[in-house]
Symmetry: C2
């Protein structure tokens, strides 16, 4: 599906992201609120998985588990909250085909340390930033008041998550290296969304 270049007036600029989300995405999301909600449940689950995976891979890294464990708990709490709304609306958690977004980003993570660690933080941060941007949009533009409130609530803590990954990167890597690598990965991230996936997803 193509998309227009229109962007939403007054939409807050989210640090890290090169392209803002278009109105086309919001319209697609608002036309398919339950599919977006189900996908959002999976996003929260996967975000917890990413944090835990990093805790496992870098188990002896000082100061890492201390921030990623509470982050993973928060993602799981959100997952459960979204799940309970799905249940209340008669829906179940079921598999949902993922958009190519996550795989494209994962493919761009370096295989060699210490670049792999930096890339992992930046990619996780970029995904959090995009989720945050889109939840903010849904919290304003969803026609469903319960969903507006849900996304607004989740936002409050989600807002901190990309800050956590940013800080993890900053404490360990040179500012110039971070900035130039972030620019590259942010381009990958935005490009992954240009050709909008035909199915409504948080990251389509």
């Amino acid at each position: 599906m193509g998309h227009s270049n229109s962007q939403i007036f007054g939409q807050p600029k989210i640090r890290w992201l090169i392209n803002k989300t278009t109105e086309d995405w919001i319209n697609l999301a608002n036309a398919n609120p339950m599919e977006i909600l189900l996908d959002h449940a999976h996003c929260e689950r996967k975000a917890a998985g990413v944090a835990l995976q990093l805790m496992f891979r870098y188990v002896g890294e000082p100061g890492l588990s201390e921030v990623l464990s509470p982050l993973a708990r928060e993602e799981l709490e959100h997952f459960e909250r979204v799940l309970s709304i799905l249940h209340a609306r008669g829906k179940k958690l079921k598999k949902l085909a993922s958009p190519p977004y996550g795989a494209i980003l994962a493919k761009n993570i370096s295989k060699d340390e210490p670049r792999r660690m930096l890339d992992s933080f930046l990619v996780a941060g970029l995904i959090e930033a995009r989720s945050h941007e889109r939840m903010a949009l849904l919290s304003i533009h969803s026609p469903d008041i319960e969903l507006r409130n849900l996304y607004a609530d989740l936002l409050k803590s989600e807002a901190r998550h990309f800050g956590v990954y940013w800080k993890l990167a900053n404490e360990r890597f040179d500012q110039n290296i971070i900035t130039s690598r972030l620019k590259e990965l942010a381009k990958v991230e935005s490009n992954a969304l240009v050709e909008m996936h035909h199915e409504p997803r948080m990251h389509s």
Copy 2:
């Protein structure tokens, strides 16, 4: 290291476990409280990992994420609590060689569904049961009052965890199949502890 067959008088019988923990283990644990504490942090982290792994593998399984997500959060909360005591005592989270216990149990999980699911629940439950038994022992026999209190506190919620896995199995499998498979796996579990690992661990 060999071990005597002596068992602790009055020690509560933990459902599922064939052999009770011996005094030798308690003595080893009490002689190395910080190593046990560090290992315990890793156990909590790994228990969260197991729950999340099952949520990922059986993503569309009704009623599974609903109970494993809160369980994973609780394990992470415990992980953070143990971590803070380690920090307060000037210790850091660092890698620790695992005893063979987990790998022996994992090797005995069937590769074919639906047996793989049943085995996964039973093995996770057995590990929780053993953790619970040993934390109960430490909550009584540790000479360190802060550690006694810690283990006693963690116990309160850990006690539920093997019940969660037991219920997951019961809701999905025939009682006879569960009972006979549990008997086999409980034997593997107890045997994995007979030849005590030379290093002090929660599951050595």
